[in-house]
């Protein structure tokens, strides 16, 4: 299958965009990565995702699929001969979906809250919330991994992809704020998992470097703080 059949519309800094890319890598599917510029949306994006106008979008044989975790499930179902991403047991699948929803709906807004915080107190509150969430995820890791190296057990799965895609931003946030979010004392399992995840061949090439993300974050902040043009 030639790579033009599979396209991912996205941008390198986005954790959501990383998800389908990791999934495609695990399945050994070649794809074309079409990057959107900051602040502009291509015609292709607007056509492919008219409802949300957001990245990532997977375009497979000209059909668009939107929403990062829905895309990951699609990839798992279509390229079924490759390593499976979702657990095979329905209860384990429910647990994986539960924690992926938690990460997106409850935890990530707290992480974003650190950058958005206007004062020292609000920032520290946000940092505490992120840390508390990570302690919950440590518990989830212990249960899901069943003694193995990943949320998915022996190999990277759906929940690893869902949580792991935020590691770049976690590290950038730690660097920019001089805090430790993932620490050996409170979240030892996650610390070990994070190393393993980032070193994995399916992840390495798409995980942005902490330095680059921190620089990008500064550009973003400047953009939002700059006075609007007349």
């Amino acid at each position: 299958m030639d790579s033009s059949d599979v396209k991912v519309l996205g941008a390198w800094p986005s954790p959501f965009v990383m998800r389908p890319r990791i999934a495609l890598n695990i399945k050994s599917v070649t794809y074309e990565f079409l990057q959107e510029g900051l602040g502009s949306k291509s015609e292709l994006l607007l056509q492919s995702n008219p409802v949300h106008k957001k990245i990532p979008v997977l375009i497979h044989a000209q059909k668009p699929i939107c929403e990062s975790l829905i895309i990951v499930q699609y990839i798992d179902e279509v390229w079924s001969s490759g390593p499976t991403l979702l657990p095979s047991d329905p209860y384990d699948r429910a647990v994986a979906r539960f924690w992926a929803a938690y990460v997106d709906d409850k935890w990530f807004p707290c992480l974003r809250g650190i950058a958005k915080a206007q004062g020292k107190e609000t920032r520290e509150e946000a940092i505490e919330q992120v840390k508390e969430g990570l302690v919950l995820l440590e518990g989830a890791f212990e249960k899901c991994s069943k003694g193995k190296g990943y949320f998915g057990g022996e190999k990277i799965g759906y929940l690893d992809i869902a949580v792991g895609s935020f590691l770049g931003w976690i590290r950038a946030t730690e660097k920019m704020n001089g805090v430790k979010l993932l620490d050996e004392a409170k979240t030892p399992g996650l610390v070990g998992w994070a190393e393993r995840f980032c070193a994995n061949s399916a992840v390495k090439e798409v995980m942005p470097e902490t330095e680059k993300l921190a620089e990008f974050a500064k550009i973003l902040q400047a953009k939002f703080k700059a006075p609007p043009p007349n």
Binding site: V51, I65, C66, E67, Y91, A94, L136
Partner: protein, 220 residues
């Protein structure tokens, strides 16, 4: 078959999503009504992260979050499937179910607020409903095609709760001339026997929600 229990609350559309799924598939279950102002120790034990209903307990193992529960039910009991077989069609069904989940809160925001905040919530709700009207239904009878599916159950709140909120607040968001497809869907959805026989009493819901709104608006 292992025992199935559902912890729910009669005023909640999220609770009903699960009831509909279980009934559509003919799965026997025990229903436990939770008093949301006084949550049981068992509920808090089964859903420590969110402390919310619905929670499905199957063979002693709890599952929380209605969309997660619906997919679990569909995968465990495959009769009368909630999702189509084709992967692309499945991704669209999941897309709209997620849309309903994420955007449905704007309608509840109309219910919970007044003044400027409410104006904003009404505007957002209308945009959301317009998107459903224009993009989600197409020419189909249900979001799931000829039969109801995951997305229909997730939009189920529109079939009854929206109308009750409109009456309490004194607005009309959905009318046949502005939302012909959505109005047709509401009628068709409520005609399905499982849905028709499993809806809260409208009067009772009206009284309950009206009272809740009074309390919400009175609190500082």
């Amino acid at each position: 078959m292992e025992e199935v229990k559902l912890f729910g609350a009669w005023p909640s559309p999220f609770s009903y999503r699960v009831i509909w799924a279980l009934k559509l598939k003919g799965i026997p279950y025990e229903y436990v009504e939770e008093d949301l102002s006084n949550k049981s120790a068992l509920l808090l034990q089964y859903n420590p992260v969110h402390k919310k209903i619905p929670v499905l307990v199957h063979g002693g193992k709890p599952i929380a979050e209605s969309l997660v529960i619906l997919q679990y039910i569909d995968e465990t009991w495959p009769q009368n499937p909630l999702l189509p077989k084709d992967a692309f069609e499945r991704s669209k069904a999941r897309f709209w179910a997620k849309f309903a989940e994420d955007k449905g809160s704007t309608i509840w925001a109309i219910f919970r607020t007044g003044g400027e905040e409410q104006e904003k919530a009404m505007k957002e709700s209308l945009e959301m409903l317009k998107t459903i009207e224009e993009h989600a239904l197409g020419g189909k009878k249900f979001f799931g095609g000829d039969t109801t599916g995951l997305a229909d159950l997730t939009f189920g709140g529109i079939a009854l709760w929206l109308g009750v909120i409109e009456d309490i607040v004194g607005v009309k968001l959905v009318e046949p001339h502005t939302f012909p497809r959505l109005c047709a869907w509401i009628e068709n959805f409520k005609e399905i026997p499982v849905i028709k026989q499993n809806l809260p009493d409208r009067e009772k819901l009206f009284v309950y929600l009206k009272h809740r709104r009074e309390i919400l608006l009175a609190s500082p």
